[in-house]
């Protein structure tokens, strides 16, 4: 419900690392199987709701002389996803959307691509639809036209995948980001540390800003699928406090462990926060060249005819260069 404890987020969308691995492997394998069977990975939903692979079935003995495009491995899929998750943050920032919207959109994106491979559904379009639907869910209405205009995309491309996305999310639309918990903790710290003087309040404010920055990074990791928002927020505060040194965080954490209704002890809580922060540290920055290379592979998997066209074009342009050099002579 609108309380995390009884929410679909709590019941269905906090997953252990093993489950994440299995889901991703499952989606990846399905896409590869489609590639072998139909020669392309992209999936289209038919009017009757069934899925169709637009590629023609390949004969038993395989296409003669034609080589199938090379499929993405799971790690490559994850890298592409991370790239588009960053894009979500950029687009939301460019629109000056409230933080809540990007957190919701990123979680939608992550959840969708647990059930589907990026080879099956175009991650760029899904990303845009994720942002658009989060705006609706968070009661921050932007028309498809305005949105399309802002990102210089056809609004229809954004709308086209709406139902597919809703279904991929299992219609579980209420999600909890760490940002509101974060504000709650700051508010609570003011009371706990009896913050009265301006200087200390100012410090807490800086701590909050720094923690929001950490939370943004957390949202790009699997931590967002593995830990409840309260723990993400605490982890962000803990990490930010290392630099800011605003509060005696350890003391505060002990008090939280004492006050909360759940059974998490101080040590268990500390262990959770550490594993959250490990996720952040293990994240390597997304390398543009890697993305370009994988994206090219992705395009060919989704639509192998592009590969042929590309070859033709290459041949043509070589031909042209030759001719023009001949002309020049």
């Amino acid at each position: 419900m609108a309380d995390f404890q009884t929410s679909s987020h709590h019941d269905r969308w906090i997953l252990n690392p093993q489950a994440l691995v299995e889901k991703r492997r499952g989606s990846n394998q399905r896409a590869i199987a489609a590639l072998k069977k139909y020669g392309a990975t992209r999936v289209e939903v038919q009017a009757d709701g069934s899925l169709a692979y637009p590629g023609a079935p390949i004969a038993e003995d395989g296409p003669v002389g034609e080589k199938l495009p090379e499929p993405l491995v799971v790690d490559e899929e994850i890298l592409i996803q991370r790239f588009y998750e960053q894009k979500i943050q950029q687009v939301c920032a460019a629109f000056s959307f409230p933080h809540k919207i990007q957190a919701t959109a990123i979680l939608y994106f992550k959840r969708f691509f647990l059930n589907w491979s990026v080879m099956e559904h175009d991650p760029k379009q899904i990303m845009l639809t994720c942002i658009y639907i989060s705006c609706k869910v968070e009661e921050f209405h932007v028309s498809a036209e305005e949105f399309g205009k802002g990102i210089q995309q056809d609004p229809q491309a954004v709308l086209k995948n709406e139902l597919c996305l809703l279904q991929g999310l299992n219609f579980d639309l209420i999600v909890y980001g760490p940002y509101r918990s974060l504000e709650g903790f700051i508010f609570d710290m003011e009371n706990f540390f009896h913050a009265k003087d301006e200087a200390f309040l100012e410090k807490l404010k800086d701590l909050k800003e720094a923690a929001i920055f950490v939370a943004d990074k957390l949202m790009l990791t699997d931590a967002a699928l593995q830990f409840p928002p309260g723990q993400l927020a605490l982890a962000a505060l803990q990490d930010a406090n290392l630099e800011e040194k605003a509060v005696d965080f350890d003391r505060y954490l002990r008090s939280i462990a004492d006050r909360q209704h759940e059974k998490l002890s101080y040590l268990e809580l500390l262990e959770c926060l550490n594993s959250v922060l490990e996720k952040v540290k293990s994240v390597r920055p997304v390398n543009e060249d890697d993305v370009k290379r994988i994206d090219r592979k992705l395009k060919y998997c989704r639509n192998p005819s592009l590969q042929d066209e590309n070859k033709k074009r290459e041949r043509k342009s070589k031909h042209k260069t030759k001719r023009s050099s001949q002309d020049a002579e």
Binding site: D48, G49, F97, Y132, K136, S143, K149, I174, G230, Q231
Partner: protein, 441 residues
């Protein structure tokens, strides 16, 4: 020959045997169907079909709200969303609910027009208690319904859950925990007869108290079989100030004073309404005469606490459930329709009219007024659904500020989407902070 429409039928349709159409609204249509699944074979299901929004914005925000809230709700007195289906052919959504045979609009009407006798005390009390019980669940989970009215209060017919109340139609409901926008921003929504005075006077923030006002109005209507405040809606204006509605309220409850309602002077339309309302300003309430109930009775005490002017002082759902009214005889029961007293007469309520000529798909694309068949049109309400009523309409629920269409070509960047018109100050609204800790795990 295979008909093209049959061929593209969604596979999930086979789960249901269509009975007919039971309602329609601006969002789309409502069907009655029987489940064919072995797990609940023969069980009646109400299926609400949402068309794509007219503005070219895909799935309507109403459908999104209903899905997102009801996917999370689990309470005996809140309508149960059993399933969501998609028809890719016309990009429509179908929401399947447990079917409720009755609603308070029909029950009250049946007593008023057919039986000419009041609803017995046990039934009134049981209905009211269950409404409050459902509402208490919603409010404690940070949801404001915002559109409570008799037609949205459903009552289950024959079966295991006979006489159990289900609050329905969450198309206007909101989570108020973390509003990005002030809740008043999307246009005033509660149907005018059940609309709280603070909203009529221009209050910007909805609180759970608006739902309690509506419950008070419904309570009075259960007692008298007549809407308590039947104002005539001024549709000429998008302004929430509805003078006739205020006038109707003031005539029954007396004019409010800043003395009894301290924040009255802060409400945007208070001064205007004072100037524009002619005649003497009586402060005396005649509510007890209108509902013909002794001022000393627990029923009157509870009713007057629900119809308290000051939203801060208005009774909450949780408090109301503890009220003496529910502790004195007859005590409320789960089956509101069948009194436990052997000498009380059991009233048989009519079944919801069904338009058997309707079809799941093809009628979906027709505009609502196109339906011509039979009796079903005027008085069809549906499970969890409000059919249009011959009563004041609500103001459009999402009053979007439509920007002029852009010439798409050649305009770079994001004009019109600057911080000024999109970003919103974070509301100061903090939930009670113990709530934060419940999120830890």
């Amino acid at each position: 020959m295979v008909d093209a429409s049959t061929r593209s039928r969604p596979a999930w349709l086979q789960q249901y045997e269509l009975v007919g159409k039971i309602g329609e609204g601006t969002y789309g249509l409502v069907f009655l169907a029987r489940s064919k699944l072995p797990s609940n074979k023969g069980v009646h299901i109400a299926i609400k079909k949402f068309k794509q929004s007219k503005e070219g914005d895909g799935v309507s925000p109403t459908a999104i709200r209903e899905i997102m809230l009801l996917r999370e709700c689990d309470h005996e007195n809140v309508v149960k969303l059993v399933n969501v289906h998609i028809n890719h052919a016309d990009m429509s959504l179908y929401l399947a609910f447990d079917y409720a045979e009755h609603d308070l609009y029909e029950i009250i009407r049946h007593h008023r027009e057919k039986l000419s006798i009041s609803i017995n005390t046990y039934t009134v009390k049981s209905l009211l208690w269950q409404i409050l019980n459902g509402l208490n669940y919603l409010h404690s989970n940070w949801i404001i319904h915002r559109d409570l009215k008799p037609s949205n209060i459903l009552v289950m017919g024959d079966g295991d859950e006979q006489g159990v109340v289900k609050i329905g139609d969450f198309g206007l409901a909101r989570i108020y925990q973390a509003p990005l926008k002030p809740l008043g921003d999307n246009g005033v929504v509660v149907t005018i007869w059940y609309r709280a005075p603070e909203l009529l006077l221009g209050a910007k923030h909805y609180t759970t108290a608006v739902d309690m006002w509506a419950v008070g109005c419904i309570f009075a209507e259960l007692l008298t079989l007549k809407p308590l405040f039947q104002g005539i809606e001024d549709k000429s204006t998008h302004n929430p100030l509805q003078l006739d509605q205020l006038d109707k309220i003031f005539k029954v409850l007396g004019h409010p004073t800043p003395d009894k309602w301290p924040t009255l002077n802060n409400l945007p339309f208070w001064q205007t309404s004072r100037q524009r309302m002619q005649g003497p300003k009586n402060e005396i309430s005649v509510l007890h005469q209108v509902v013909q109930t002794s001022q000393k009775s627990p029923a009157y005490d509870l009713l007057s606490k629900m119809l308290e002017y000051d939203p801060c002082k208005r009774i909450s759902a949780a408090q109301a459930l503890e009220h003496e009214y529910f502790r004195c005889e007859p005590v409320p029961g789960r089956n509101a329709l069948v009194p436990i007293q052997p000498n009380d007469k059991v009233v048989g309520y009519p079944q919801r009219p069904v338009d058997f000529s309707a079809d799941f798909e093809c009628s979906g694309s027709q505009p609502p007024q196109m339906v011509t068949s039979s009796h079903a049109v005027n008085n069809s309400a549906a499970a969890s659904v409000t059919a249009p009523r011959p009563m004041p309409q609500q103001i459009p629920l999402v009053s979007m500020q439509r920007l002029p269409p852009y010439g798409l070509a050649g305009q770079a960047g994001m004009p019109g989407l600057t911080a000024n018109n999109l970003s919103v100050p974070r509301g100061p609204s903090q939930p009670p902070h113990q709530q934060q800790f419940r999120r830890l795990n």
